[in-house]
Symmetry: C2
Subunit: 159 residues, 2 copies
């Protein structure tokens, strides 16, 4: 196993473990619990669920894997704060989107070869990448993993 | 920059960013806020602060950087749940320990050479490491980074 292969495995082990943790929490709480605020006057569980789906959907164009599948979610759950949108998808709808994303995202990520993870992602210019080679595709997974962990630490409070 | 160097930098960028985020939150909240529960009937801020100090202290023996400096904190803040210990350090004492740890841990981690990060940590046997080379020292930083992010997502709720 090359060091590059090893590093990709280390990062994906964390990413997959946290996705699984998050999925377990979501399965263990009711729709009513997801409607609640994680703490008084803070974001609701439903907002965090929509936020995670939208942020993970936005990884697709960053990794050159195609367009976002649900750009409308990005508007509601990333660009706007909780309780500001007139209508948002229901918990049931978001649960279906989450489940579908879990099933479809992994094979897409697995289609990227080891060496390609060390190439630049789409939002960094080639000349900047020469000076900042850490702005590679693997770094997208790494930053989304810590982002996911941050919100898993919040969703667990609904239990 | 070799790929190994790059990967160590990527992981440490995340670790250092989250330590800084955590420190900023701690500086922006009062001692009284830290005494509060992050959500009703959940851990108090003071417990999470002690927990982070203890978990980061326990990285020293794992990385072969010496003994834990505060093993008593591990008993109180890792082995025991919140509100179970008879006495715990005050918020003021924990703030001093956190600050000292921030100042002393970074140079210790920086003393580890790039290639050494891919060697086994102390809690994995040599024969297991041959089969599981991802159980290296860098993986300790990676797992502690997602652990830190999880709790930063909770401490922010005290603001």
């Amino acid at each position: 196993m090359t060091t590059n292969h090893l590093l990709v495995k280390m990062v994906f082990d964390r990413w997959n473990t946290l996705l699984k943790n998050c999925d377990n929490i979501l399965q263990s709480i009711t729709d009513e619990q997801l409607q609640k605020e994680i703490a008084p006057n803070k974001n609701r569980g439903i907002y965090i669920l929509g936020h995670l789906i939208a942020v993970h959907d936005a990884m697709l164009p960053l990794l050159n894997l195609g367009e976002m599948e649900h750009p409308e979610l990005y508007e509601i759950f990333v660009k706007s704060p909780d309780k500001s949108a007139e209508t948002i998808p229901s918990v049931q709808e978001l649960r279906v989107l989450w489940k579908n994303q879990l099933e479809t995202l992994t094979p897409k990520l697995e289609s990227i070869a080891t060496e390609e993870w060390f190439e630049k992602h789409t939002s960094v210019a080639a000349e900047d990448f020469e000076k900042e080679p850490h702005r590679n595709k693997l770094n997208i997974i790494l930053t989304r993993t810590t982002h996911l962990s941050y919100h898993v630490g919040q969703l667990i409070l609904l239990k």
